[in-house]
């Protein structure tokens, strides 16, 4: 018992009061609001608001599917580029120039990231100007719309920009921690070629080691806000943008839908966190 003092208990109590309890209370309030038990629209228990996502033209499920697809695509592209990078330029990532430069995208806040993608890939952006200089287009309108587009290409580009250095550095660290070089040498002694060593030893080990982080990254991208707010289309919207839009509307009838979005998002995130959690290495309690 000596290991836990009153100071530790006070700290934990503060953590509960400042973080866990408000979150639990607010989710309980959201659940109550969505079934008509609390809030300005409260008229007793009802499932009527929960029926809305199933009505034709409602955006909630479309928004969830869109968010999952965008997050999935961004994560897959990010992992592919980061793997390529760590396989081709691991030494530079360890302590070379790339190690320093890779910090730059990590220092990009969401608003700046969105601003940059807008400036680079909009109709009159840098990519369009390069295409103009190459004689591929004459007016900005001819440039394909990859920001504010219905496929979320701009959002995916933004998430890849910030995700690649993060995963490249993580893979570089895993390369050393999991002794992948030694395992590849072992594979070579039993006759594996270079491609086989990469495909059957290095990549599976890196992805296996990074799996919990990949899932947590997926959860984070599903809930990203600033980037789709500036780069997304009016429809479909990422779930965080839709939640905020419905929450901020003057039409109070939209508020229960905002809370339904929040509850569904919480359930989805908790499920994904639980998947990541099961694969994390947990140290034994030092009790």
């Amino acid at each position: 018992m000596l290991s836990r003092s009153n100071l530790d208990r006070a700290g934990f109590l503060l953590f509960l009061i400042l973080a866990i309890l408000p979150m639990a209370a607010s989710l309980a309030y959201a659940a109550g609001y969505s079934v008509g038990l609390v809030g300005l629209l409260s008229e007793g228990f009802t499932w009527q608001y929960w029926a809305r996502p199933f009505q034709e033209g409602n955006q909630i499920f479309a928004s969830f599917v869109f968010s999952l697809l965008v997050a999935g695509a961004a994560t897959a592209i990010t992992l592919a580029i980061a793997l390529l990078l760590v396989l081709a330029a691991r030494r530079s990532l360890d302590n070379g120039l790339l190690a320093h430069l890779s910090t730059i995208p990590l220092a990009l806040p969401g608003t700046v990231l969105a601003f940059l993608v807008l400036q680079w890939f909009s109709g009159s952006g840098i990519a369009a100007r390069i295409a103009y200089a190459l004689g591929l287009l004459q007016t900005p309108a001819q440039f394909p719309g990859i920001v504010h587009d219905q496929y979320g290409v701009g959002i995916i580009i933004a998430q890849v920009i910030v995700g690649v250095p993060f995963f490249a550095l993580l893979f570089a660290q895993l390369w050393h921690n999991q002794r992948i070089r030694q395992l590849m040498e072992l594979a070579q002694t039993i006759g594996a070629g270079r491609r086989q060593r990469v495909a059957w030893v290095a990549i599976p080990l890196l992805l296996h080691g990074a799996f919990p982080t990949v899932i947590l990254h997926l959860v984070a991208v599903i809930g990203v806000y600033e980037v789709p707010l500036l780069l997304g289309a009016q429809s479909p919207q990422m779930i965080s943008v839709l939640t905020m839009q419905k929450y901020g509307m003057f039409d109070l009838q939209q508020k229960p839908e905002a809370f339904i979005c929040a509850i569904l998002y919480t359930l989805l995130s908790l499920s994904l966190i639980a998947v990541a959690w099961r694969r994390m290495k947990h140290e034994q309690s030092p009790r």
Binding site: L2, R4, S5, D8, G11, F12, L14, F15, L18, A19, I20, M23, S26, A30, L85, A88, A89, G96, L97, L98, A99, H100, L101, S102, T103, I104, L106, A107, L108, P109, G110, T111, V112, L116, W120, R129, A133, V219, A220, G223, V224, Y225, E226, L229, L230, I239, S240, T243, M244, Y247, A258, A262, T266, S269, I273, H282, E283, S285, P286, R287
Partner: protein, 260 residues
């Protein structure tokens, strides 16, 4: 000789990625010094330092936004690092360690904006919406989750034994912290401070939601300039927003490399 194509490919990959990684800062610097840089110009037709000479005078809100961002981030980082440090010690030695750590992952990973929409009601009732204090408390909700997870692995059996040895030799709780635990915790405390500082420094959605438009930090200003299509001011504000994270991340890397 057979390695030459592979080495060439490696050089191309490193050079391409290096350029791509450096591109954000290079572009923002260029825009902040550019004048009349419109389609189809690939490079600015004119460059001038005028914007940097006049922006502080013209944009009264910029200096106050920088000050607000620094104040908020420092308070959130100090508060969540200190509370997280002691709370994680309690969590680490608790029999429900795993369950409590899982709870900590919720604020750490989930979208601050989506959860913020739910918490907004509580903050309204407490009169915290539209105030700096409200934004600090809201950001701390999420930063604390990170801090507890960060320190949970720090509090291992070795540190537990150190603390217990000090207590058995007659040290009070405060003496144990001051003389034994804090001296061996300087580096993780600093790293946690840097990370929680960055979390707060980057925050836009939660600041707007709880700040109600009255708390104007630098990310809020970048969003406003971008919305107004004022690319030159947006680039300047973006650079100001990126300087502290870059310094801190390079510092973070240096600390990690130095101490392992």
């Amino acid at each position: 000789m057979s390695n030459r194509p592979a080495n060439l490919a490696r050089i191309v990959v490193v050079a391409t990625m290096g350029l791509l990684f450096a591109a954000p800062v290079a572009y923002l610097v260029l825009v902040s010094f550019a004048k009349h840089w419109t389609f189809p110009h690939l490079f600015p037709p004119q460059v001038s330092a005028e914007l940097w000479q006049t922006i502080w005078g013209r944009e009264q809100g910029l200096a106050s936004s920088v000050a607000a961002s620094i104040f908020l981030s420092v308070v959130v980082a100090v508060g969540s690092t200190l509370v997280g440090f002691v709370a994680a010690r309690y969590v680490s030695y608790h029999r429900w360690r795993r369950g409590l750590l899982f709870l900590s992952y919720i604020p750490f990973v989930m979208s601050p904006v989506v959860l913020g929409a739910c918490v907004h009601v509580i903050f309204l009732r407490l009169g915290l919406v539209g105030s700096t204090a409200g934004v600090i408390v809201a950001q701390m909700m999420f930063a604390l989750g990170f801090a507890v997870i960060f320190f949970a692995s720090f509090w291992n059996a070795e540190r537990k034994a150190l603390g217990e040895a000090a207590r058995m030799l007659g040290a009070t709780t405060l003496q144990t912290y001051r003389r034994v635990l804090l001296p061996i915790s300087r580096q993780p405390l600093l790293l946690c401070f840097l990370q929680t500082f960055l979390f707060s420094w980057f925050q836009y959605g939660l600041t707007v939601l709880i700040g109600g438009g009255t708390v104007k930090t630098l990310p809020v200003l970048v969003y406003l300039y971008t919305g107004e299509a004022n690319i030159y001011y947006a680039a300047a504000a973006s650079l100001l927003l990126m300087i502290p994270p870059l310094v801190l991340l390079w510092g973070n890397r240096a600390i990690t490399l130095r101490f392992g």
